[in-house]
C-alpha cells in the first residue's frame, strides 16, 4: 500500500511540475490535461474491469450523467459545479444501483451487453429532453472567466491542478480497493465467484461496491470534462466508442488491474490520438478510433488467453503487503 501511495505521489508531482513548466495557454498543457483526464477515466473503469473483472461497456452513462448534472445545474440554477459534481456522483451511483439489480448475476458478454444498452438509453434520454439538456444540439457551460468557485479557467494551465487532483483521488481509491481486506475480497470474486461465495465472501455486495464507487468517480470525471471543454452533446459524452470503449482500452493497453496501467495507457493513447488528428487532418475523422480498434484486436490476438493473464498477471500493486 505504501508503495502504491508513493507511486501516486510521484506521478502527481511530475504532473504538477510539468504543468508549471509548460506555457499555460499552450497546446502541450492541453494535452497534459487530456492525458490526466483519460487516465482518470481509465482508472475508474479499472476498478470494475480490472479489480472485479466486470467488463463494462457502459461507463459513458455515468460520465454523461456527471457532465450533464453539473452543467444543467449551472445553466438552470447558477449552481457551482463544486456542488453539481457530488450531485452528479449521487445520480450516477443511483443509476449504477438500479442497473445492477437486474444485471448483477449476469456473466461476461451478457453483462457487457446490458451496460452497453444502458449507455445508449442514457444517450436517448439526453436527446429527448432538449428543454433541460439542450437536446442533440448539446449544451454549454456558462462562461464566467477565471473562477475557482465556478471551476473554470481561461487557460488550460489551472486545469492541471484540478485534473491531477482527480487522478490522485481516483488512484488512491483504486489502491485502497486493491489492498487490504477489500483487495482480498475483490480478487477472490474476480478469480472464482462460486468458490468465493462458498468461502464466505458476499460476492454481490463486493461487486456492487466496486460498481457504485466506479460510477461515482466516473461521474466526477464527466463533470471535470464538461468544465474543461465548455461544450458537449449527447453523442460525445454518452458515446459507446468514444468513452466506454476508450476507457477500457486505456486501462487494457497500460495493464489491466494495475495501479499505473491507466496512466501508461493514457500516455500512449492520448498523444497518439493527437498525432493522428494533427497529421491526418483531412481524414482525421475516424482515424484514431480506427487505429485503436486495430490495437485492441492486436492485443487480443497476440495473447488471447493472455488477455486474462494480462488481467491477472500483474497483481494489484503491493497486494502482498
Amino acid at each position: 500500500m505504501k508503495r502504491s501511495l508513493l507511486l501516486i505521489l510521484i506521478l502527481a508531482v511530475a504532473a504538477l511540475a510539468l504543468g508549471q513548466m509548460l506555457d499555460p495557454r499552450g497546446y502541450n498543457v492541453r494535452v497534459l490535461c487530456l492525458v490526466l483526464l483519460a487516465a482518470s477515466l481509465g482508472q475508474c473503469w479499472n476498478i470494475v474491469g480490472g479489480l472485479a473483472n466486470q467488463i463494462s461497456l457502459g461507463h459513458a452513462a455515468f460520465f454523461g450523467i456527471g457532465a450533464y448534472t453539473s452543467t444543467v445545474l449551472q445553466t438552470l440554477g447558477g449552481i457551482t459545479p463544486w456542488i453539481g459534481m457530488p450531485v452528479g456522483m449521487l445520480f450516477a451511483m443511483t443509476a449504477a444501483l438500479l442497473l445492477s439489480l437486474p444485471t448483477m448475476r449476469l456473466k461476461g458478454p451478457y453483462f457487457a451487453l446490458a451496460t452497453l444498452a444502458f449507455g445508449e438509453a442514457c444517450r436517448i434520454l439526453a436527446t429527448a429532453f432538449p428543454g433541460i439538456t439542450g437536446g442533440p444540439q448539446g449544451i454549454s457551460v456558462p462562461f464566467v472567466g477565471n473562477s475557482w468557485a465556478m471551476m473554470q479557467f481561461r487557460g488550460a494551465g489551472n486545469y492541471v491542478y484540478l485534473f491531477t487532483g482527480l487522478f490522485v483521488v481516483v488512484s488512491v481509491v483504486f489502491a485502497c480497493l486493491s489492498h487490504g481486506r477489500m483487495g482480498y475480497l475483490m480478487r477472490a470474486v474476480r478469480e472464482n465467484e462460486e468458490a468465493a461465495e462458498v468461502a464466505g465472501v458476499n460476492t454481490l455486495k463486493v461487486k456492487l461496491m466496486g460498481s457504485l464507487i466506479s460510477a461515482a468517480l466516473t461521474a466526477a470525471t464527466g463533470t471535470l470534462f464538461a468544465q474543461f471543454t465548455f461544450f458537449f452533446d449527447p453523442e460525445s459524452v454518452f458515446s459507446a466508442s468514444g468513452i466506454s470503449i476508450r476507457a477500457a482500452l486505456i486501462a487494457i493497453v497500460g495493464g489491466v488491474g494495475t495501479l499505473a496501467g491507466p496512466i501508461i495507457g493514457a500516455l500512449i493513447v492520448v498523444p497518439l490520438e493527437e498525432l493522428l488528428s494533427t497529421y491526418l487532418s483531412s481524414k482525421a475523422a475516424g482515424i484514431a478510433p480506427f487505429t485503436f480498434g486495430l490495437i485492441l484486436i492486436a492485443i487480443v490476438l497476440l495473447r488471447p488467453r493472455g488477455l486474462i493473464t494480462l488481467f491477472r498477471n500483474r497483481r494489484p500493486s503491493g497486494a502482498r503487503t
Binding site: 444502458f118 434520454l125 478510433p289 487480443v300
Partner: protein, 288 residues
C-alpha cells in the same frame, strides 16, 4: 382503433425486417457460442453495398440487398477465419474485446472511406402506399417485409434441407461430435459466421429504401438487434424472427404513448428485463 391497427401493421412490417437483421446474430451465437459485438456494422456494410449498387448500377436496393448478402458473407467469413477463430476457445473477455475492436475498425473504416454524410436512395415506389380500408401500408415497408420473409424461408430451407445446413446444426449442438462425423468445424464456423453477417447485410440492403446510410447506421441498431435476439432467445433462429416481430410491434406501439425519440427506451426496458429474468428468451437455448 385505426391508429392502433395502423401502428400494429407498421410494427409487424418493420419487425419482419428486424428479424432478418438480427437472425445472423443468433446464428453466430448458436454455432460459435460467441456474442458478436460487431454484428450491427455489417448492417451498415450491407447498406453501403446496396447504395453503391443503386448509385453506379441503377440497381433497386432490394436486388442490391442480394449483392450485399454476398459481400457480407465474404467479409464476415474472412473476419471469422482470420480473427474470430483465434478466440473461439478463449475467455469471454477476449471475445468481447476482439469483436468490439472489430466494431471500431469497421465503423471508422467506413467513416474514413465514405465520409460522414448521409446517403439515401430514390426509388419509384418510395412514397407509394397500399390502401386497405383505413390502413395505409407503405410500399417500401411492404416490399422490405416480403424480401425479409423470402430470405427467411431461404434460410430455413438451407438449414433444414441442405447438407451445409445440417452440418451447421450439428456443429451448434455438439461441435466435438460433429468433428467425429468428419465435419470440418473450422469451415463450418466460417460459413455460419459469414451466413450470419451476410443476412444482417441483406437486412441493411432492404431497409435502404426508407433509411439513409452513414457510418453510424449500424450502431443505432445495436441495442435493437440485441433486444430482438435476447427476446427470442440467443441461438434460436426462429426466436430471432419472432423476436423481431415483437420488437417491431413494441417499438411501434410505444410511439403512441411516448415521444418518438424515446421509442428505443421501451426496448431497453424490455431488453434489461429479459436479460435479468429470462435470459434464454422465449425460445432459446442457455444464455448464461
Amino acid at each position: 382503433m385505426t391508429a392502433l391497427l395502423q401502428t400494429l401493421t407498421d410494427g409487424l412490417l418493420i419487425g419482419g425486417v428486424y428479424g432478418v437483421i438480427a437472425v445472423g446474430l443468433s446464428l453466430v451465437f448458436g454455432v460459435l457460442k460467441i456474442v458478436n459485438f460487431a454484428q450491427a456494422e455489417f448492417l451498415m456494410i450491407g447498406m453501403y453495398v446496396a447504395w453503391f449498387c443503386w448509385s453506379y448500377l441503377g440497381l433497386d436496393p432490394i436486388f442490391g440487398a442480394f449483392v450485399a448478402l454476398a459481400a457480407g458473407f465474404l467479409i464476415g467469413a474472412a473476419c471469422q477465419r482470420l480473427l474470430v477463430q483465434h478466440v473461439i476457445h478463449a475467455p469471454p473477455v477476449a471475445q468481447i474485446f476482439l469483436t468490439v475492436g472489430l466494431l471500431a475498425v469497421l465503423e471508422n473504416g467506413a467513416l474514413m472511406l465514405f465520409g460522414s454524410e448521409f446517403r439515401s436512395v430514390q426509388t419509384p415506389y418510395q412514397t407509394a402506399a397500399l390502401e386497405i380500408g383505413q390502413l395505409f401500408i407503405s410500399m417500401p415497408y411492404l416490399i422490405a417485409f416480403v424480401a425479409a420473409v423470402t430470405i427467411s424461408l431461404g434460410l430455413w430451407l438451407v438449414l433444414a434441407h441442405t447438407w451445409i445446413g445440417r452440418a451447421i446444426r450439428a456443429t451448434s449442438q455438439n461441435a466435438q461430435a460433429a468433428r467425429l462425423f468428419g465435419i470440418d468445424t473450422r469451415v463450418i464456423y466460417a460459413i455460419a459466421f459469414g451466413l450470419g453477417t451476410g443476412l444482417t447485410a441483406f437486412g441493411g440492403g432492404i431497409i435502404l429504401s426508407y433509411s439513409a446510410v452513414s457510418p453510424t447506421a449500424g450502431t443505432q441498431f445495436v441495442v435493437l438487434m440485441f433486444t430482438v435476439v435476447v427476446l427470442g432467445g440467443l441461438g434460436s433462429v426462429l426466436g430471432a424472427l419472432v423476436g423481431g416481430l415483437i420488437v417491431g410491434v413494441i417499438q411501434s406501439l410505444s410511439t403512441l404513448v411516448m415521444p418518438i425519440q424515446l421509442q428505443n427506451l421501451a426496448l431497453f426496458v424490455v431488453f434489461i428485463t429479459f436479460l435479468a429474468f429470462r435470459p434464454q428468451g422465449l425460445l432459446g437455448k442457455g444464455a448464461r
